[in-house]
Amino acid sequence: MLLIQLVISGIAQGCIYGLIALGFVLIYKATETVSFAQGELMMLGAFGGLVGMTMLGFPYWLSISCAIVGMAVFGVVLERAVIRPILGQPAFSVVMLTIGIGYVARGAITMIPGIGTDTQALPVPYKDEIWNVSGVVLNVEHMAVIGATTVLCLLLFVLFRYSKLGIAMQAASQNQLAAYYMGIPVQRLNGIAWGLAAAVAAIAGLLLAPITFVHANMGFIGLKAFPAAVVGGFGSLPGAIVGGLVIGIVESLSGFYLPDGFKDTAAYVVVLVMLMVKPNGLFGEKLRKKV
């Protein structure tokens, strides 16, 4: 029973990692850059929901949809304003740039009077409820995370498999130049990919907010999503979710069965082992070096 509960809470935590990792992978596939600001986008999304619910007094569904749409627009604007001008520069420039964006986001949020410097709970309707299924105590907040992640994955799957937009995005990620020649607006797609990544991050933030709290440094959890993305293979969307689940479950089990201190480093130990054994990750594509 205990094991099942541990695994379920690990899965819930892993879904959060997976969702953030999904953002990394979306951006990586579209523009071959790695965004270190993904955790901060998540934090902004959670704050968006909080502002909607407490300061503006919107109902739950309205405020979370506003937060998600707002973050999507923010992602598109961010791509247009700062990422596009330096595309084609060494990958490390973009890494430093997104680290800078993260710093700015963390700093700016503390300047909102009243809520910026506090830690607050997001008042969701399913707060602190518990289901008891034949002896297994299930936390509704965890189940909401798992359910929402499943739905989101299905939606993304449908988007990339059947819609014209998703297929165009796949084409652009495989070969930008060829996609451009076929008349696909690659630049606009890059913007949409950033928007999508920001929206997914916002969803992750809104799901995480009831479990932890909303505060300016909650974005640091994004650093644990890197291991998730690497374990799954950096260029693979299903891999990101699977990697997130692996990291989440390992973390939850090691927190219980191993001495103190292993919980926080479990993710990093897993990723170091992964990089030594199978650097391409579980679902990574094998690529040959070219000159």
Binding site: I99, V104, T110, T117, Q176, T265, L287, K289
Partner: protein, 358 residues
């Protein structure tokens, strides 16, 4: 414009290319030696900190700027050096021996971290070093019998075979000597075949390999040297603060070090020093302007992060060669006046170069 008439092959690798270099660097050395009598105690302490960060920056510059391997966990090496040094010093080991041990252990740890660098590159290496940094921080916090855990440990004054350095001036001179030695060491390394091999690896691994450069050897060597310098800087850092705890060597410190070399200018030895000056003076400047800002902005705890982030974004977007690159442009402008053209330092974009295949 200055034209150097070369009559000897040795002139190509001379450290001082012409009389101007000798004059200006000589003046700088004089100024640094005279600093304890010129500046107030507070500013001398800041200068000491600049020197310490410069040593760490030199190490990271060698790794990131000249070998092209970006480490996102460099604070871990700083921490290993600081703790080794602190533990040994408190056991009564003289300063030079403890410093050598700190550098040696850091280098050994660097060798271990360098091993994954042989298989992975680019962002994967960044994540590997990031993970390593977290693990070291956790080890420092949990290994309480040696490191004192989260409570941290105090460290005694440096003791060079019975000669105890207990004033700020003496410690400043110690840092100055070590900084000058490591700078000369790095400059010398960079003009040797080893340094050229590093630069070749940075520019293209495959071409370097086909020219007969042993990638594994040089990459691990670069990691080890870089880690050793970080270890030395860590040892001095421990003495400077007289108290160390694991949270001084966390991810934010690693990012600060990266920020330092990016703002200073990746790929130039000067950049490490300019970046260190920036990193140390920035909090002072922010504290000065804080009172002129509206209280909501000025009193916010995230103000410093916001300013750092904005400066970093501005540098990446507008001046990717950093402070040193800006100085090069100004110097070229003055030298060539009035023939300077706008596009002289224009960056080339490389759209079709996919990093996945690199």
């Amino acid at each position: 414009m200055r034209f150097i008439f070369k009559t000897d092959y040795g002139q190509d690798i001379n450290l001082a290319k012409h009389g101007g270099h000798v004059f200006w660097y000589g003046a700088l050395v004089l100024l640094m030696v005279a600093a304890p009598w010129l500046f107030a105690e507070y500013w001398l302490a800041q200068l000491t900190l600049v020197l310490i960060y410069s040593i760490a920056g030199l190490g990271l510059m060698l790794l990131a700027g000249f070998t092209g391997l970006f480490s996102m966990g460099h604070a871990a090496f700083l921490g290993v050096g600081a703790y080794t040094h602190a533990v040994l010093t408190n056991m009564g080991v003289p300063f030079p021996i403890a410093l050598a041990c700190a550098a040696g252990l850091s280098a050994a740890v660097g060798l271990v971290v360098g091993l994954p660098a042989l298989r992975v590159k680019g962002i994967y290496l960044g994540i590997a070093t990031l993970s390593f940094g977290f693990i070291v921080e956790e080890v420092l916090a949990r290994w309480e019998s040696v490191t004192g855990g989260n409570a941290g440990i105090h460290i005694k004054k440096p003791d060079i075979f019975g000669w105890v350095l207990d004033t700020g001036d003496q410690f400043y001179f110690l840092c100055l000597v070590i900084t000058v030695l490591s700078t000369l060491g790095i400059l010398n390394l960079l003009r040797s075949p080893t340094g050229r091999a590093f630069v070749a690896i940075r520019d293209s691994e495959i071409s370097a390999q086909s020219m007969g450069i042993h990638l594994a050897y040089y990459k691990t060597l670069s990691f080890a040297i870089s880690a050793a310098l970080a270890g030395i800087a860590g040892a001095l850092y421990a003495h400077n603060l007289q108290f160390i705890s694991p949270d001084q060597f966390n991810i934010l410190q690693s990012i600060d070090l990266l920020l330092m070399i990016v703002i200073g200018g990746v790929g130039s030895v000067h950049g490490a020093f300019l970046g260190a000056i920036f990193l140390i003076t920035m909090p002072q400047a922010i504290a000065m302007i804080k009172d002129f800002l509206p209280p909501v902005v000025g009193q916010a705890p995230g103000l410093q992060g916001l300013v750092y982030g904005l400066v970093l974004i501005a540098f990446v977007l507008f001046e990717p060669m950093g402070l040193y690159g800006r100085w090069l442009k100004i110097r070229t402008y003055l030298q060539m006046f009035p023939f300077y053209r706008k596009g002289m330092f224009k960056r080339q974009k490389s759209f079709q170069k996919s990093d996945r295949l690199k």
